[in-house]
Amino acid sequence: MSTPVKKERSALVEGMVDALPFILIVVPFALLFGVAATEAGLSLVETMSMTVLVIAGAAQFTALALMEEQAPTLIVVFTALAVNLRMVLYSASIAPHLGKAKLWQRAVVAYFLVDQSYAMSQIRFDKQPQEPLARKLAYFAGLMIPVAPLWYAGTYVGAVVGEAIPPEFALDFAVPITFLSMVAPMLRSLPHLVAAFVSVAGTLALIWVPYSMGLLIAAVFAMGAGAMTELWMDRRKGAAA
């Protein structure tokens, strides 16, 4: 009896240990979101509600940026959700491992399925696909124990501190800089570079389209351009081999 429980506890601890390096990313990112949300005019309650309900930094920054441009509500929601669409892939690739869990457990996992918990659990589940479900769930829970509370707390501190920071610090530019820091590491492959270029050129060319819809139109073309470049490179590699 005691052995499986012990193993689950050790999986939980392993998850917590594996998630420790993420503290260095999550805390500053959360602080920055708190500050940026305050700069954008959100109240403390609004900022915290968004951070707890959505728990997805890139989408939250997207919403802030579009609200600052006074984009219509549906466009803000739609674009922010488009940024989160990648998580369909996370859900799809984690489902074979956790799909047999109880419904409420799967719902909890879904809520906490962020970039960091996905990346770490995917690595572990690929390495040990035969691990029992209970231990996989324990590992996933362990990953979120350091990450989620620090995300909430960091946002709170950022929002409270942000109100006290004077405009000379030019924190208006914290949002663009945060975005660029997320985009930059993606730009190291040709298809991604092509997609980013089409996204920028398309959005700027379509800036006249009402309701900030140019961004979404450009995104559709950018996705196509990236995927087509990838196919073209694969084919060329195939031809060369």
């Binding site: 005019g41 579009l66 930059a184 730009l187």
Partner: protein, 107 residues
């Protein structure tokens, strides 16, 4: 938010939508998957949305009333270069903010 009246609508719809996205395949609990071409397109969603989103904010910052600004352009370039070279998100944010303060002080 005083200037954005529908903030609660945004927060609630984003919360529900994001959860449904994450729950999608976990909720089905089966072995369903997308065709390959859909997966390929989905991989490019972040890089297709974020650069377009950030470009106008960099070129026409609201803090300067929409006028292009050397300090902010330079800070953006520094962030991109550091981020692409090191893949270090935190480092590129700090580098970008440092570049911004130095350029604001110089100009």
């Amino acid at each position: 938010m005083s200037t954005y009246e529908t903030i609660w609508t945004v927060i609630i719809l984003m919360g529900i939508g994001t959860f449904l996205i994450r729950f999608s395949f976990l909720g089905l609990a089966g072995g369903q998957t997308f065709p390959e071409w859909v997966l390929r397109l989905l991989r490019y969603v972040p890089v297709a949305v974020m650069p377009g989103l950030v470009a106008p904010l960099v070129l026409w910052p609201s803090a300067t009333g929409g006028e292009p600004d050397i300090a902010r352009l330079g800070a953006a370039a520094a962030t991109l270069l550091i981020g692409a070279a090191t893949r270090n998100m935190l480092g590129s944010i700090l580098g970008g903010m440092a570049a911004l303060y130095i350029l604001l002080w110089l100009t």
